[in-house]
Symmetry: C2
Subunit: 313 residues, 2 copies
Amino acid sequence: MRFEVTILGSNSAIPAHGRFPTSQILNASERLYLIDCGEGVQWRLQDCDIKKSKINQIFISHLHGDHIYGLIGLLNSMSLSKRTSPITIFSPKGLEEIIQVQLKYAGTVFSFPLTFYELETNKNQLIFEDEVLNAYTIPLRHRIPTCGFLFIEKPRPLNIDPDKIEKFNIPVEKIIEIKNGADFITQNGKLIANAALTFPPVSPRSYAFCSDTAYDTSIISIVEGVNLLYHESTFLHELQDLAKETMHSTTIEAATIAKKAKVGQLILGHYSSRYQDLSPLLEEAQKVFSNTVLGVEGKTISVEEKRRKIQDS
Amino acid sequence: MRFEVTILGSNSAIPAHGRFPTSQILNASERLYLIDCGEGVQWRLQDCDIKKSKINQIFISHLHGDHIYGLIGLLNSMSLSKRTSPITIFSPKGLEEIIQVQLKYAGTVFSFPLTFYELETNKNQLIFEDEVLNAYTIPLRHRIPTCGFLFIEKPRPLNIDPDKIEKFNIPVEKIIEIKNGADFITQNGKLIANAALTFPPVSPRSYAFCSDTAYDTSIISIVEGVNLLYHESTFLHELQDLAKETMHSTTIEAATIAKKAKVGQLILGHYSSRYQDLSPLLEEAQKVFSNTVLGVEGKTISVEEKRRKIQDS
């Protein structure tokens, strides 16, 4: 089952050097979650061969243009494509007003139900769950209300050992109970402990999206141990003062968060247009946290399933 | 001096087949006028090697998304580029509210003065003039308030014949007066009529932009004799009923307007996404009006200066 992030846009503010404003897709077990929505996202999805019809939830970190200007065009195209399934948008206050005023003057009524869920950006709380994952807000420090998002796969049921089904002659109707933790009593009345019949499921995988934000160590406890961390790195560290002033982060700061939070892998992004060549940003971050990659247009970063060993029985 | 239209986007509604939503640049004597502003217009300008900094006026025909979703991103990028010279936007009511609500939630204050001029879309009237041209509204019939635009070059001063300057020993300070129509009296007191000294300037060139609109013969008297007419042609004529229902036009209808208005050249555009190959649309229109071209991304259609003959003196 997939758990992977595809970068649709990696740039900050003014698009440049073939890079687009922030937008990403999280694919978790073939469910697609859209994170931020910079201008042109409908083309970016096409370019990355991702079907917009498969998106049902959209998570918006904040209302700066380079994170939202593609939303209205995407929704409009979904409607023109006669979509009927609902869309839910999670965002700080204001986005519903922004979308509705545009629909009002266009005389447009979307073909699908659209629900806005207004986020409290200063809280770390559960905002969404489905069969696949839970999503939580991550409070971030930026010039306007902003939050990141933490996505954690739901724990899967225990795996039952096929050999034990045969050995103990376990009937089909008992299998779901055992997968959910029940012990089993054989026809001879012998109790077989659950641990002797099952092995643990794959570990839930996790992705934390942190953009835009000033360097803020208070997020470390929230993103601790995630498999993947996207942390904005607008500037090289020599521009630390500018980063502070504009409430963005440097490469070193992003990598320091990754290191302190002991994450699996760090993805950089939200690059200033002053950088055509991104390799100095990568090199600088890797000095602090070696398992760092550049988020660039079209790149997909996957987290493999970690299968746990079968327990000795 | 140039008078030319560059097509930035030629498609209707959903972008498809590498075509973008409606946007055009009129270059008149190196002044750039932006007409409609579909999503991605800031990239389209880059792709066509047109400097956004040279645009000072933006003309918006109506508030459907495929004509305006690129505006906020363009303005935002102009501001991030530290533009200081003013922008004036001409549009039907509502665009100022759409832009302002987005700025409010982003906490953005543009670096340049932005003025909105609210159009009365049901009138044919002068809305703008500068040293180069006059711009007028063209009432159109669409599902929401919509107008086209007619751009007409200002008449230039008369051209003075250099041979006559020498022959009659005309002093420099008299030349402007003669170019504006004055006669000249020689040192010997002989009156030389203006017509014997000058020849007519080049003819003022004109461009009419008509999108989106149902077939409407009432525009013929407004666009009569223009050098260039852009008339939307969303559908082949076999879909005339759909065109009526959606208040768009067919190829034959666009060409019929061009023919009846005796225009110089017709540009087609605003193609339905159902057409990958546009040649059937062109062929159909050319049967009615032969001097028709397809408006396609990156194409520039120029109107040459028509120099008039020097009068016999």
